[in-house]
């Protein structure tokens, strides 16, 4: 993990002090709500239905045991003893009173954490592959570049008030596990034939009301120049992005509207900065800085990369549950004797991605014991232990099971993504958590889950798409019609992973459904797949081959109510 320097520590403490000053002025009545709003947002503080929500940044998903213990403490002492891990690899609290906000920021700063730019119209916390640095299919470890970009984007003075939020995702692997096509900027690290490292740069992806997949604006930007290239993109966006309409303000709209002119403007800006501007070349990254940051991402002490794999064949009397867990929750590692193990945060009785203070402590203890004190927050809202030796798998399984993290459902239907929805979020049109709970309950039989196989089910409570419904093989979107909750179902979306195919938004399966119809609709879609699948086809393959029609017919067959404004959503 990145090791904070004295400069980094002072910086985070300064940010906490600055926030405390702003909060004091707000509570004293000097800083009215609408002016405090943008300031608190850029520190992660929203105002939600019940209390402010705090979104803590977990840069590119990397977390230490020590940090997670502190997050557990904050959950216990300041919240109602839980937190919610998000699709953007962050952690959210829902019940912290605003008057205690500055104290929480100080506690976060104690463990090198903060809420900087987890919200607001600025460059947000950067996300990456949960297997960054350990994936067998990785060409280049993206973490040093993630960190350099994190630092560059942190409190950037020119880009603090963009037309809209701005999200960057980075991968260094062949498979895209970071959904880079869905981001304002998506970066893929490549190594060319000469062994040089550069970035393929995508721009203009995004979810929301108008789902768009990013398009390539740079085939191979040398790594040294990536900050300058991104500066050029963001500057063109800051100058020309629309500010008259919230729904047309993301960069994807500008890229679509301007097409080649946008590309030309970025190229011209890029050249101007490098060749002409005072200090323009100062952000060309020197080898020494890459080396300095990379030193934080060497193998944890005690790991021997040359150790050969000696995976013992599971004994005949191995419990079936353990074998299922090995199959679903354990992934290959670039070091043959090591594994990446996912702690499932998808289980009956708790919302997807939620963890209590006690569970956070237990996960942190597992990381200390089995993973050199390191965890990752995954884009699918689970926790992952990146450094587990194969000889420890059985012991880890026993401990994870005891802590409630061993549900062997990673990648299966109940490993769904869901935003907090209308139960908490002031933006939501409908609730997500009860829908997720009803589906989890209906599909609680493991044999059935395994028979259905790999599938991405994503639920968002509103069009802001925090639950990434557009990229789900099955997507569920909460919509409001005449004050009632309805759900639009989409089919065939993809995040861009190998399983799901090229990134694409799902297609709408007819008019919206009532809340209590949703589990039956999901079941009807699943039954259609099971009936129609050929050979080893997965859900996404069958749905692509057959198209919407048979699925739509099956869904309509279980429709009992129809939205009064039926069809409007389609």
């Amino acid at each position: 993990m990145y090791q904070y320097t004295e400069f980094d520590r002072h910086f985070v403490r300064a940010r906490a002090a600055q926030f405390r000053d702003q909060l004091r002025r707000h509570l004293d009545g000097e800083l009215p709500d609408e002016e405090f709003r943008a300031l608190r947002l850029q520190n992660g503080w929203y105002v939600q239905r019940h209390a402010p929500m705090l979104r803590v940044a977990v840069p590119y998903g990397e977390l230490s045991s020590r940090q997670l213990h502190q997050l557990a403490r904050i959950a216990r002492e300041f919240d109602r003893d839980y937190g919610h891990f998000t699709t953007r690899q962050n952690l959210q609290y829902n019940w912290i009173p605003l008057a205690r906000a500055a104290d929480v920021m100080d506690l976060l700063a104690e463990v090198d954490m903060h809420g900087i730019q987890t919200s607001g119209n600025c460059i947000r916390n950067i996300t990456s592959d949960a297997l960054a640095g350990i994936a067998p299919d990785e060409a280049v470890d993206p973490r040093p570049y993630c960190e350099i970009l994190r630092q560059w984007s942190t409190l950037h003075p020119e880009f603090a008030f963009l037309p809209r939020k701005f999200k960057i995702a980075i991968t260094g692997a062949r498979e895209d596990r970071a959904a880079i096509g869905w981001h304002d900027i998506g970066l893929q690290l490549l190594k060319n034939e000469a062994g040089e490292i550069g970035f393929k740069v995508l721009v203009g992806g995004g979810m929301g009301r108008t789902p768009v997949i990013g398009s390539v604006i740079g085939e191979f930007v040398p790594w040294q120049q990536i900050l300058v290239f991104i500066e050029a993109i963001v500057r063109v966006y800051n100058r020309l992005g629309r500010r008259d309409n919230l729904y047309k303000a993301r960069i994807k709209i500008l890229v679509k509207a301007e097409g080649q002119r946008f590309v030309d403007a970025v190229d011209a800006e890029f050249r101007h900065i490098l060749e002409h501007d005072v200090g323009g070349a100062a952000h060309v990254i020197p080898q020494s800085e890459l080396d300095r940051v990379s030193a934080s991402f060497r193998l944890p002490a005690g790991i021997d990369p040359s150790r050969p794999a000696a995976t013992p064949r599971p004994a005949a009397d191995t419990p079936a549950a353990y074998r299922l867990w090995l199959e679903r929750n354990v992934q290959a590692h670039k070091l043959p004797a090591y594994r990446a193990v996912t702690l499932s945060l998808k289980r009956a009785g708790q919302a997807p991605g939620d963890a209590t203070g006690d569970q956070m402590d237990r996960a942190a203890e597992l990381a200390t014991r089995f993973s050199h004190g390191e965890l990752r927050v995954t884009h699918d809202q689970n926790l992952l232990l990146p450094w587990v030796h194969e000889s420890q798998l059985h012991a880890l399984w026993l401990a994870a099971r005891e802590a409630g993290f061993a549900t062997p459902n990673i990648g299966l239907l109940t490993d769904m993504i869901a935003c907090p929805g209308g139960d908490f979020c002031a933006l939501a049109n409908a609730r997500s958590i009860p829908v997720a709970a009803a589906i989890t309950e209906r599909f609680d039989d493991l044999d059935r889950l395994y028979d259905i196989g790999d599938i991405d089910l994503h639920i968002s409570g509103c069009i802001n798409s925090c639950g990434h419904h557009h990229s789900g093989h099955i997507g569920i979107l909460g919509v409001d019609k005449d004050g009632a909750e309805w759900y639009q179902i989409t089919l065939g979306g993809s995040d861009g992973s190998m399983l799901s195919g090229a990134a694409a938004p799902g297609k709408v399966v007819g008019p919206s459904f009532a809340a209590d119809e949703v589990p039956e609709v999901i079941e009807a879609l699943i039954d259609t797949y099971r009936r129609e699948r050929l050979g080893g086809e997965r859900f996404i393959d069958t749905s692509r081959r057959l198209g919407l029609a048979p699925f739509r017919a099956a869904a309509d067959a279980v429709r009992r109510a129809t939205a009064r404004t039926a069809g409007a959503a389609a």
């Binding site: 940010r15 002090a17 002016e35 008057a99 100080d106 942190t154 008030f161 200090g279």
Partner: protein, 184 residues
């Protein structure tokens, strides 16, 4: 950073009953709109100290010829924040300084709030006319929280990775405990 008190400002806008006068007479200390400047530019005496107020939608490249040189035709460029959350003028300011090497005064007007000061300073503004209800004292305090930043800017073109950070005084620590224990 200089804080401008509009009542004692040397620069004056030239307005009639129907808004800006289309062709103002040459006179020192005139603050012209962009339209006024375009109208008089060709006949305006060189060497006359002149200020211009730019809309935040303007591509500042179009003014390049008026900004260059040891004695640029414009002495003051006023950039606007119609809403404080509209960040276009930060880019204009930075480009005026780093691309056009504008050396004159760069002033922020409009909805200029205390907490914008660090951003203004770092993107090259050297003067700010705070919104009337804002406190200069709080604005000065807002400038003091950070000893240094990661990315380079107009004030400090070098990013952290190109500087010797051991020489940067950690001012943050003195501020960190400022209000601790006051229930905030």
């Amino acid at each position: 950073m200089r804080f401008i008190d509009a009542r004692h400002d040397r620069w004056h806008r030239i307005e009639g009953e129907d808004g800006p006068i289309p062709h103002p007479d040459p006179h020192p200390d005139r603050l012209l709109t962009l339209e006024q400047w375009h109208a008089v530019r060709d006949t305006w005496p060189r060497g006359l100290p002149t200020a211009v107020l730019l809309p935040n939608t303007l591509d500042v490249d179009t003014l390049a010829a008026d900004l260059r040189g040891p004695r640029p035709r414009l002495s003051l460029v006023v950039l606007q924040f119609p809403k404080w959350t509209d960040g276009r003028a930060y880019t204009q300011a930075r480009l005026l300084r780093t691309r056009h090497r504008f050396d004159g005064e760069l002033r922020a007007v409009g909805e200029v709030l205390v907490d914008m000061l660090p951003l203004l300073e770092r993107t090259g503004f050297d003067a700010a006319q705070l919104r009337r209800d804002q406190s200069v004292e709080a604005a000065v305090r807002a400038l003091g929280f950070f000893a240094g930043h990661y990315q380079g800017d107009v004030q400090q073109p070098k990013p952290a990775f190109a500087r010797d950070l051991s020489t940067e005084v950690p001012a943050a620590d003195s501020g960190a405990g400022l209000f601790a224990g006051q229930g905030i």
